[in-house]
Symmetry: C2
């Protein structure tokens, strides 16, 4: 039986468990704490920044993959040096860890992006603002997620605090019609499969809702997104799931916003809405097994994130009112604003599907 | 977070894990051995016939359910006496444990069955054979499964070995067109939901293949099966999943063959083919949560059992040739003839679906 080790015990590791159970794969998790979301499969609790801890954990695993992209390069390279199959590998993960490197590399691959620049000083930022209508998005190169490490600035001193720690990325504030995401998977021997393009709706910089497929993107955007994801997956040598977050700009361009090299919130719909879920596909890709059919199980899927908590009695109430809704609880203790679960509905009529998903999710509103 | 304890660590317990993970339910398994199929969720290894072992295991569980029906009545009743929510409870399980009691009880409920009799001697068997064309099916009241404890006899001495241990059940050898199964679930507060009627194909007394829905059963048989399952679920006070194995007799009658009060092989298709799988429904029922929509995800599902073993390289080869097939491996060591996994395909054209399922399953043929 193949053994996959997952570094990080969050909900993404948790949601790999059902796929591993189905395929007869043994899954082991290196968790941050004993009460992690993926505790059922945790075989170790420790610090993923410590090479010794990670090497010990990896011993006996046929492949190593990730719940998050924060494992330091030196730890990743120690794993590779020790003979571990690290998927995705450090050379690919680098571009998911550092947004400045990512922009440089995507530029070299000719992938369409917002205008961007490396900013080391107020002067750099002032120059970029002057060229882009006086407002721009500044991002820390590392460590940002769910809207953290991202801000809109309108003045040259708007990134002073971050600049004290080193260069930042500045990007054109894209005027967009909608945000999209293209999910893909690539296995080491090269096979790439894409899911249909989806629309993501953010609130407060955090993904709130995903509609699959994207209802109004159009053929040209679908083709552009598929080409971008394929180029990125192959160009960066990604193994496992790749999520490309995209802007569908007001002028019709499809531009890369962010990359994630792991199962991603924009693909949670696939658990209930696709022949092959992103979690199953990720495990297959990580083992270099053939990838699965990504066809939808229904015309439409709508996924709504739940924040804070999913108390049992609310789960029962949501299930009682919406018997066709699929509720996913991440087994986390309550904490305001934290992703604690999601709800998916699927069906042939988008209005009805969205209604059922939102009605079920509303049971978890405060 | 609710806690469900499952007694028995076989593949049915294993397949409850993904449903528990999704719904944020903690699942604990009392396994027979450390290498059980459900070892990922095993919190104890011990003998389910030992009341102390089972009571210790049940401590801290919100509900207790089962991978199999072999837990002795005295252990079940000790659990109830200790305040455990045992689902299904001993009064219901009795009828899944003892086929003579089951026949008596179903008779009282007016459920259609093959002719049957309690046989205590050669003389009893001779009389039944004389009334039924000289051939009949003899079953041990307890402990039979997958064709074990069942034999066709044509002479009065055909059950001598079993009669030495006590009375046996004799049944009319039903001339049937096909075998069917009606899967249902019932929660303690009374809600009952049914899946579509399925056809089961047996080879050597063991389920080989399931087609959902049953292609040629017809409306009358569907109505009869639904009424039977509802009557049995309510009449016996079943909680959790109930599988009613049925003969569709040559004369059109729908007759109860066997009962199982747990997720059942005839419902494995529902993991990939239904909005709510039998495993999710079972956990919901056991917690007395509202039951889920049992609608199909496609017009047809075909499930094929795999016996013996599912080596990784065969899994990869099956997935490579049939990217839409869903392969389920039970994490068992190889053993000839033992159910080791199953394969499901779904879609709109039965011939195509059956082809894809069988083609994928063929990768595991010797």
């Amino acid at each position: 039986m193949p053994v996959i080790g997952v570094i990080g015990g969050g909900q993404l590791a948790r949601m790999m468990i059902p796929a591993a159970v189905a395929l007869g794969i043994e899954i082991r998790v290196l968790a941050e704490a004993s009460d992690s979301s993926a505790r059922l499969a945790a075989t170790a609790v420790g610090d993923y920044r410590d090479a010794r801890t990670v090497l010990d954990f990896a011993n006996g695993c046929d492949a190593i993959t990730f719940d998050h992209e924060h494992v330091p390069q030196e730890v990743l390279r120690a794993l590779v040096a020790a003979g571990a199959a690290v998927r995705p590998g450090p050379d690919a993960l680098l571009y998911a860890q550092d947004k400045l490197l990512m922009r440089e590399r995507l530029g070299a691959l000719g992938v369409p992006m917002p205008d961007w620049a490396r900013v080391e000083s107020r002067g750099d930022l002032a120059a970029f603002l002057a060229d882009h209508g006086g407002r721009a998005v500044v991002k820390t190169p590392r460590g940002g997620y769910d809207g953290k490490g991202v801000r809109v600035v309108g003045a040259a001193d708007g990134a002073d605090d971050w600049l004290a720690d080193g260069p930042v990325l500045v990007e054109e504030l894209v005027s967009f019609r909608r945000e999209l995401a293209q999910l893909a998977a690539r296995r080491p021997s090269g096979e790439v499969r894409l899911w249909p393009l989806v629309e993501t709706v953010q609130r407060g910089g955090v993904c709130a809702e995903v509609i699959a497929p994207a209802p109004h993107a159009g053929d040209a955007a679908e083709r552009a997104a598929a080409e971008i994801a394929t180029t990125v997956a192959n160009g960066l040598g990604v193994t496992g799931v790749l999520a490309v977050e995209l802007f569908h700009a007001s002028d019709g361009r499809v531009l890369v916003n962010e990359l994630a090299m792991r199962p991603h919130n924009s693909g949670h719909f696939s658990i209930d809405g696709s022949i092959t879920s992103q979690f199953e596909q990720h495990l297959r890709a990580v083992l270099d097994w053939p990838l699965g059919d990504t066809s939808p199980l229904a015309d439409w899927s709508v996924m709504i994130n739940v924040f804070g908590a999913l108390p049992s009695e609310r789960i029962a109430s949501a299930l009682g009112h919406q018997p066709s809704a699929k509720v996913h609880a991440y087994g986390k203790g309550p904490r305001a604003g934290r992703k604690a679960g999601h709800v998916t509905a699927i069906g042939d009529d988008l209005d009805d599907v969205a209604y059922r998903a939102r009605a079920a999710a509303a049971h978890f509103d405060v």
